[in-house]
């Protein structure tokens, strides 16, 4: 196994050994383009990330975030364009506010807010996309699995 892969697997060995599930909403104009670029560059990424394409991060509502957690995800993150670069002018700004609101909601019921995060990047910046994916993976792996009632 190459060193990068080793580094990935080491990261997924959580204390309880169970594989985490992370749902990721990628905006079509920037994040998903950066994801494709990372793919073409054959960058090795953790398998916990489940990508969902949306036209713009502005499309993601608190319902999507909480439902993802409720239905088995241990973490959710949204990746969109840099501030001021949004293809639809301000979709990413709406997403930033909704993520902040969702994190406040989680905190009020005792769930770790780091389970929901947002990252911004430009379409050509695949390194930033990779860093975001790995950071999210590391954060969620360090948290216990999300119990559900």
């Amino acid at each position: 196994m190459t060193s990068a892969a080793a580094e990935n697997t080491r990261a997924t060995e959580t204390e309880d050994g169970a594989e985490r599930k992370i749902v990721a909403f990628f905006c079509r104009e920037c994040a998903y383009a950066a994801a494709d670029a990372a793919g073409n560059a054959r960058v090795s990424l953790p398998t916990t990330i489940r990508s969902v394409l949306v036209p713009c991060t502005g499309r993601v509502s608190p319902l999507h975030l909480l439902k993802a957690l409720a239905d088995g995800a241990d973490g959710v993150y949204v990746a969109g364009c840099l501030e001021g670069q949004c293809h639809y002018r301000e979709g990413n700004l709406h997403a930033l506010d909704r993520i902040e609101f969702a994190r406040a909601l989680l905190e009020s019921v005792g769930v770790e807010p780091e389970r929901v995060q947002m990252f911004t990047m430009s379409a050509a910046d695949s390194p930033k996309f990779v860093a975001a994916a790995r950071k999210m993976h590391e954060t969620i792996s360090s948290l216990p699995q999300l119990e559900r009632r």
Partner: protein
């Protein structure tokens, strides 16, 4: 749902990592999946046939593609489902390549598990995908081409050939753009204008192309195919009647640096950039009102007569100076000149001596001007009370309008305060007399010694024949002052004192005189007293006391200085408490020391007494000069005219008093300040208002509309040489001892011309109307206004070109510091046969032909410092090579060196041309230049390191040419903002896709061509222009365009009309319907499918085509 899953091996990219068979097995378990197929390349023809066959045989209504990223092959499969009548939204995608096999090659087991989840998610999503309705928009067969350079013109002609109407928009006054400035083009060295001129005339004659010059696009809205565009056309001030005879440019006195000639030559305010400009009309560069003109109460165009004086054309200058002001010589001496305090030159060094120039012109031309009587054409007679500046100006203007006017003056002499208020050392009698005679010469009758209210009454005038009266009585007495002891013997009122002096009455002054007050009247009283003391052989002893400080003194700064030179003593910050008297005569003046407090209503800081700090000055006579008041005799027999606080009450717009047909103005009814120029302006306004009143309709503007002020920018001011005002000659102190001769002398001709040429020509055209008089075709229309026009067009092409990198930002290279450092474009103008030097290479400093020339490449390009751009500007190497070749052919013994980084000659025949020019003896040195240093004789020492031999060269050159790179033009940045286009590095318009869609932008229906999209030479620019035209033709040829599928839509039943979606939509595509149960209406053309409103909709009525909540949650929950 009957769904077919199609897995792609992608030539091993996917099958190399994932086991597609086990993937197929797991997919089979998903309910709704009825067929699974697999192929090496699903996106190929074989894959397509496989899908068609499966749909046919198994009756599929949904398809899942397990292959590469949807961004890559999405459109291919959507097209297949559309053609199979299943609709574009019948296909769902699982990204097995970039989303799985590529990024998990090292963990095949985990990748396999994830792949199964990816396919399952796609199947789950497909279950909720429904067909999406698409409407149609009918397209306008017309196009807006922004930018009249070679790119714009080529695209316009291409499109008109395809039968599409073109609106060609150009910011400047003529088409041609950057190419019109070139002399020759590379690599063929054929003349630029020879290839451009036919295109220009072609565009001009083409009926389908409508050319809009001096026009900006201010607004673009609406969907592609139906763009609504708002245009703003700036006025040209020249009508179609212009035949291009060029007489106007020799008449125009204003000369500024020509934008077309890139600073190598000047142009006049009225000009045409180049001979075969299209349209061939001239245009006037009129940027509004110059600061001096806006500041003058009478609205005289100071810049107008100053420009004419600078050219020695004094008669025309006098015409402009005296047009609105009959007292040009008088004002040249005593005006408070607000124009000078507004003068922009003041920010560079000192304001222009505008008043002195006005005096010079009036003194020189005035006396020779003989005015004849103006024939009376109106029956109404007008009476004017008071022969001061206001009254006489009003009389003159009315006389010129053809009225019979009579001026009644109470005093035995005419001139008002000008005559009896200002002593001869500031305003000689003969100067005032001459200008008054010029007023009466027009036919104005003057009745002296006639006091209204005593010798006649206003009512009597109105009864016998006068149809209008203008009260211009001024403020002819000192205002009452409550200083105790004011009635003691030895006290004097300044106004009365000066009147007796100027009427030549006998007058005596004390030995120790104190004057109270800080205005002109106080100063004149003091300086006259000094002269009277000296004439009677006594040492001057006059002290002026003033409550505030020097800055707040209303009197003019230079007059205060002259007074001090003549021996006046001034005590500041002292208020007069009491005039002390002995045996009925004045003996001293008790003064209260103050300091300055808060600013009061007059905008000046109020003097606040300092407790107990009182002093006393001995004096045998005290002159009170604290303001003037109105003499109200005229009120006798003139009801309904009210006077409050010394001012006749008037209606500000019509200047009419309470009594109809009776107007008032000047000091007695001030609308601005209490100065001579304000009075003159009031006279002009009154004449216009009386004319409107007598004619019964508003023919003339009493208060002309304020025009925007034009000031040079901060950089322009910073670039100006710091100089000094030409001082006016002064009578030296000794001669002023006891004489009434004029203290300030007038300019000589040379001094006047030197001072006048310091003018910065702020508004460029100064409205001196020399061109109006010179134009044989009468084509000049100075009152043209800006026009707004709205159009509807189907598509837009942006061809706004580029601008040259400002080489000033490379400080060590000395551009802008040394005149012999020029840029390649400036060199093109110097080499152009139609250029300012008719093709002769004359270097700017001394016009000699340079023998040793150094050209420096990559100025501002391929530069990672903050003062440059990173991109290579593509054309500079060939541009320099072209000019070097032209110079060598024209001047065989010239020694041309080109210092290059990498000589790039990529185009067709460029490399051959490069070798040819080397053979012509041009020396190419691969080098990096450190600094360009100026030598006293204008030659330039260039220090450049030869990067091949690693030797440091330092050589002397006669001319240095900088190959400055290309940047986005101001027009490009502006249209990008208006049309909402993304700009890439250095501001160039970002194309939709560098390879696949080079002339599209990210907004449908808007295309880009030429250097607006990036640096390129002329052939590539023309190729892009034709490509953009082809894109427009293909877009408009369908006649209609399908409204996009992925748009928001609202369920009428669920929508509660809360309006949240309307307020947050960034494209303002949602509007709330009216009525009692409002609901959201979405304009499918404007909606761009971002989904912000869907996520925010509280009632869940809003959804997005292809990305409904169900479809998204389906993928999330797998």
């Amino acid at each position: 749902m009957r769904c077919g899953v199609f897995l792609c091996e992608c030539g091993g990219n996917i099958s190399g990592v994932l086991d597609l068979d086990s993937l197929a097995d797991s997919a089979r378990t998903q309910d709704g999946v009825v067929s699974i197929s697999r192929n090496q390349f699903m996106c190929g023809t074989e894959g397509r046939r496989m899908i068609e066959q499966a749909v046919e045989e198994r009756g599929l209504d949904r398809i899942v593609i397990g292959a590469c990223s949807r961004r890559f092959q999405g459109p291919t499969f959507e097209r297949i489902t559309r053609e199979l009548r299943l609709g574009e939204n019948a296909v769902a995608f699982g990204n097995l390549r970039e989303g799985c096999s590529f990024i998990h090659r090292d963990e095949p087991a985990k990748a396999q598990l994830k792949a199964e989840k990816i396919v399952a998610a796609a199947v789950a999503r497909a279950r909720f995908q429904s067909d999406l309705p698409r409407g149609r928009t009918f397209l306008h067969r017309s196009v807006l081409v922004v930018g009249g350079g070679i790119a714009g013109i080529t695209a316009a002609e291409e499109l008109s050939g395809a039968g599409i109407d073109v609106h060609l928009i150009e910011r400047e006054q003529s088409l041609g753009g950057y190419m019109a400035r070139l002399s020759k083009t590379f690599p063929t060295e054929d003349c630029a204008m020879c290839s451009l001129a036919p295109q220009l005339t072609g565009a001009a004659l083409d009926p389908r192309i409508r050319i809009h010059t001096l026009t900006d696009v201010t607004e673009i809205s609406g969907p592609p195919g139906e763009f609504r565009v708002k245009l703003r056309q700036r006025p040209r001030f020249v009508s179609e009647a212009c035949v291009g005879c060029d007489d106007c440019t020799s008449a125009c006195p204003v000369s500024v640096s020509s934008e077309f000639e890139l600073g190598v030559a000047n142009r006049k305010a009225i000009s045409r950039p180049f001979a075969n400009a299209v349209p061939s009309l001239y245009a006037i560069d009129k940027r509004g009102s110059s600061p001096c003109k806006s500041a003058c109460p009478a609205g005289t165009s100071a810049q107008g007569y100053v420009a004419l004086v600078a050219e020695g054309r004094f008669d025309e200058a006098y015409r402009v100076a005296s047009e609105l002001n009959p007292f040009a010589s008088v004002c040249g001496r005593i005006c408070t000149h607000p124009c000078e305090s507004a003068c922009a030159r003041g920010e560079v060094d000192q304001p222009l001596a505008i008043a002195a120039l006005k005096r010079f012109v009036a003194d020189r031309v005035g006396p020779e001007t003989v005015l004849e009587k103006v024939p009376v054409i109106h029956s109404e007679k007008v009476a004017i009370i008071g022969a001061g500046p206001a009254g006489l100006t009003c009389a003159r203007d009315l006389a010129k309008l053809g009225y019979q006017t009579t001026v009644f003056e109470a005093l035995p002499v005419a001139g008002g305060m000008l005559k009896v208020g200002i002593p001869d050392y500031r305003l000689p009698k003969d100067v005032l007399r001459r200008e008054i005679d010029q007023v009466t010469a027009l036919g104005v009758e003057l009745e002296l010694g006639q006091r209204a209210g005593k010798d006649f009454t206003i009512d009597e005038l109105l009864e016998n024949g006068y149809r209008a009266v203008f009260l211009a009585v001024g403020l002819q007495k000192s205002s009452e002052v409550e200083v105790p002891g004011a009635e003691l013997e030895g006290t004097e009122r300044a106004v009365e004192f000066l009147r007796r002096l100027n009427l030549g009455k006998p007058i005596s002054v004390g030995d120790r005189v104190v004057v109270i007050g800080g205005g002109d009247v106080a100063l004149d009283a003091a300086r006259s007293t000094i002269r009277l003391q000296r004439i009677s052989g006594r040492e001057p002893n006059v002290t002026l006391v003033y409550r505030r400080t020097r800055e707040e003194m209303p009197a003019l700064g230079e007059d205060v200085e002259h007074a001090i030179e003549e021996g006046l003593k001034i005590e500041f910050l002292v208020a007069s408490l009491e005039i002390v008297g002995e045996k009925g005569r004045v003996s001293a003046l008790k003064l209260q020391r103050c300091k300055l407090g808060e600013t009061d209503s007059s905008g000046r800081r109020r003097p606040v007494p300092i407790e107990g700090d009182v002093t006393e000055i001995e004096a045998d006579s005290v002159v009170l000069a604290i303001g003037q008041d109105i003499v109200c005799d005229f009120l006798e027999g003139c009801e309904d005219v009210s006077v409050e606080k010394g001012q006749i009450q008037i209606d500000r717009d019509t200047l009419m008093t309470g009594k109809s047909a009776v107007f008032a103005g000047g000091d007695a009814a001030a609308t601005g300040g209490w100065t001579a120029i304000e009075a003159i302006a009031a006279g002009t306004r009154a004449a216009r208002s009386i004319h409107n009143y007598l004619r019964g309709e508003k023919l003339l503007e009493v208060w002309p509309a304020k025009v925007a002020e034009a000031r040079p920018s901060a950089e322009e001011l910073a670039r100006r040489e710091v100089g000094q005002r030409v001082p006016a000659p002064l009578l030296d102190r000794s001669e002023r001892r006891g004489s009434w001769d004029e203290v300030v002398g007038g300019y000589s001709e040379a001094e006047a011309i030197a001072e006048a040429s310091r003018c910065l020509a702020c508004a460029v055209c100064s409205e001196c109307e020399a061109c109006v008089r010179a134009c044989p075709a009468g084509a000049i229309e100075l009152d043209q206004q800006e026009e707004i026009e709205e159009l509807a067009v189907g598509a837009i092409i942006v061809a706004t070109g580029h601008k040259e990198f400002d080489a000033r930002r490379k400080i060590p290279l000395g551009f802008g510091r040394f005149s012999n450092v020029v840029t390649q474009s400036q060199l093109a103008r110097l080499l152009a046969p139609s250029g300012p030097t008719a093709g002769e290479l004359e270097r700017p400093s001394d016009g000699t032909v340079p023998k040793k020339i150094f050209m420096l490449q990559c100025v501002g390009s391929r530069d990672c410092t903050s003062s440059g751009n990173e991109h290579c500007s593509a054309i500079c190497c060939l541009f320099a090579t072209l000019h070097a070749s032209l110079i060598k052919q024209h001047y065989p013994d010239a020694d041309v060196t080109i210092g290059y980084t990498d000589l790039r000659a990529p185009g067709k025949a460029h490399e051959e041309y490069y070798r040819l020019v080397q053979e012509r003896g041009v020396r190419y040195v691969r080098s990096r230049t450190g600094e360009v240093m100026g030598e006293p004789d204008g030659s330039l020492r260039v220090r450049f390191e030869d990067t091949v031999t690693r030797r440091k060269n330092e050589e002397l050159f006669d001319l240095v040419v900088l190959s400055a790179g290309l940047e986005a033009s101001a027009g490009t940045t502006e249209i990008a903002h208006v049309a909402g286009l993304q700009q890439g590095s250095a501001g160039f318009i970002k194309e939709y896709h560098p390879k696949l869609k080079p002339v599209d932008t990210q907004r449908a229906g808007i295309f880009v061509a030429g250097t607006a999209q990036g640096p390129k030479n002329i052939p590539d620019t023309i190729a892009q222009a034709k490509a953009a035209a082809a894109r427009v033709v293909s877009m408009l040829s369908a006649g209609f365009v399908l409204t996009p599928a992925q748009v928001a839509s609202s369920d009428l039943a669920q929508c509660i009309g809360c309006g949240i979606c309307e307020s947050i939509c960034p494209q303002s595509a949602v509007t709330l319907s009216g009525g009692d149960s409002p609901h959201a209406i979405i304009d499918a053309n404007s909606c761009r499918g971002c989904g912000i409103c869907v996520a925010e909709c509280p009632s869940g009525a809003m959804t997005l085509g292809g990305f409904s909540d169900e479809e998204i949650l389906a993928e999330v929950m797998v």
